[in-house]
Assembly symmetry: C2
Homo-oligomer: 359 residues x 2
Amino acid sequence: MADRDRMPPDAGDERAEQGERLTPPSGVTIYEVAARAGVSIATVSRALRGSGPVSAKARERVEAAVAELRFTPSRLGRSLAERRHAANGIVFPDLSGPYFAEVVLGYEEVAAEAGRSVLILSTHGRRDVPAMVRDLASRVDGMVILGRTVSDAVIGELIEGGLPVVLLARPRVNGADLVAAENTASAEHLTEHLLLHGYSRLSFVGSPQLSPDVAERWLGFRRALDRHGVRAGKPVACELDEESGFAATERILRRRDRPRALVCGNDEVALGALLAAEANGVDVPGELAMTGWDDVMAARYARPALTTVRQPMRDLGARAARALDELLEGTRKVPRHDVLPTELVVRASCGTHPTEVSR
Amino acid sequence: MADRDRMPPDAGDERAEQGERLTPPSGVTIYEVAARAGVSIATVSRALRGSGPVSAKARERVEAAVAELRFTPSRLGRSLAERRHAANGIVFPDLSGPYFAEVVLGYEEVAAEAGRSVLILSTHGRRDVPAMVRDLASRVDGMVILGRTVSDAVIGELIEGGLPVVLLARPRVNGADLVAAENTASAEHLTEHLLLHGYSRLSFVGSPQLSPDVAERWLGFRRALDRHGVRAGKPVACELDEESGFAATERILRRRDRPRALVCGNDEVALGALLAAEANGVDVPGELAMTGWDDVMAARYARPALTTVRQPMRDLGARAARALDELLEGTRKVPRHDVLPTELVVRASCGTHPTEVSR
DNA sequence: TTGTAGGCGTTATCAC
DNA sequence: GTGATAACGCCTACAA
């Protein structure tokens, strides 16, 4: 019951000519290489990965056999034996805005450098997210989870199961690393900037409960107003897209106590607001000032150009990948919580300000 | 030499309490479940996947054991036995523009519906792309390849190895499906539109050799000019980003025979051109008209708003996923070549036109 | 309906 | 140096 069963007599060569479908990547196994080279599979393995002594002659024959047979080791076989996937996952809500795309890109770049493949999972409009996340968990050595995609309970379950997890722009969970961009202080700063313009009636446009980021921005907004003794009012409910921003702003414009300035949850909302103002003949920033968040490309091209807050999106992804790498390599045991700084970008939409104006 | 060796006596429960790192997802194997349920692993497997008859009692006990042990089958073990990854790959140059992000999103959505995970690979600025692609190939059942990321030779090698491959926005290769957006006729149409404005000195901004899409657009551009007996000149070399568009346009503006209109390779180039015109006090579209391609968000917000061509990006990704699915399911054996229609979006940057203006 | 045993393709441990 | 052989975790004939 040795190799006999595992060595099909018609190994390797004529299958292609018979028009049969080969099974990817090549269907050639280490047994066939070993047979061809006249050595054992152990020697082939050692030769290929340099994991042990191999005579020059044996190595040569193995290399020849590998080339002739176009042998590629099966990742499944290898991963099973090594007990590791050499792959990481990343879960995000969507990819439509530039935000997540950049994060994913930064993540993939670093992961690839570490020799790990990246599996993606978008949860937008998905039914059974927990099941999809569990499936993903079974295919990776660790994963990064963005924003409000996965519940605390499920994350806890993953961590419980021993999976290294890095959270990104999400409320912390015990046992997981966290990477995020600064929000609260930045929002406070931004709001203060508007107050310095002399505006006193400000509205926040965005739903804090929909996104952890927005919640923190709302908090900073309130803090700034509090400090200046201005009443904050309730946030104007709004999802994070242009259409919602447009609709929310139209509602706002119909109010008697119309605000003088809008702090929007992100740039897309602000851009929608810009369109709404335009459609209603309201001058920006003359009658209504506004700010966004993220500094998307359109923010620079809009007229007036959008005052906004720039986040290091790519770097967020890269950091998350590095944190995960440390977890996987066991370099670090204690949790790590990174908060990356943001940058206020003052343009025209918040009104002309004597001192600071950039492009 | 039966199960004895495979059944660690201290199976399953106290490890977590000992503070040991469990191996993800849970480290519990089908053997432990079987032991706990008092059945064989075959019965567990059948019960879990409904692949054969199982008595109600046995099923119940298995389910209980699974729950108590929090058993999750190992994807590696399963994939190895099933000889399939249940995962697809996608290779793209970059994710910075909205174009690829949308394509990937459309792709992931359909792939996930079919129960397949998605592995991504960005080739931008990578050294050994062929090696990375081969590695990816060993982890998936099939893959989609976008644009000019992978050479014909490597693609041929993958196909030779039996891997189902779908090309997206890329010159065709024998044996692979192809999905693309229409380019040539659309470019011809767009150029004709400019000619109808009365412009006769047109320049094409973009390097045809850098991208298959651009090459086709350049071809359509030439065809339109040819038809109207106008000389095309050489394309103005330019990469597909804002900065290059800006630089290329500055060079153009310095020429004595400055063109009256610019057909840019994509929106980012056109937006860069817009900035260059602005920086040089050149009125758009009064002195210089211009068009882009892709209809990115900024194109709508730029002033003047950009005339451009909209591609069904999401749908491109979705189609590619479906084509790949057919290949994997063996539903279809003959190659398939889809070309999706585009839509000309006329805005202000090409000059006011009596009849057609949309937002 | 159930269980045994072989196979999926590696890696790695040990004798030789 | 080299080669059996036992994992790795699952699926699935096949026999009972």
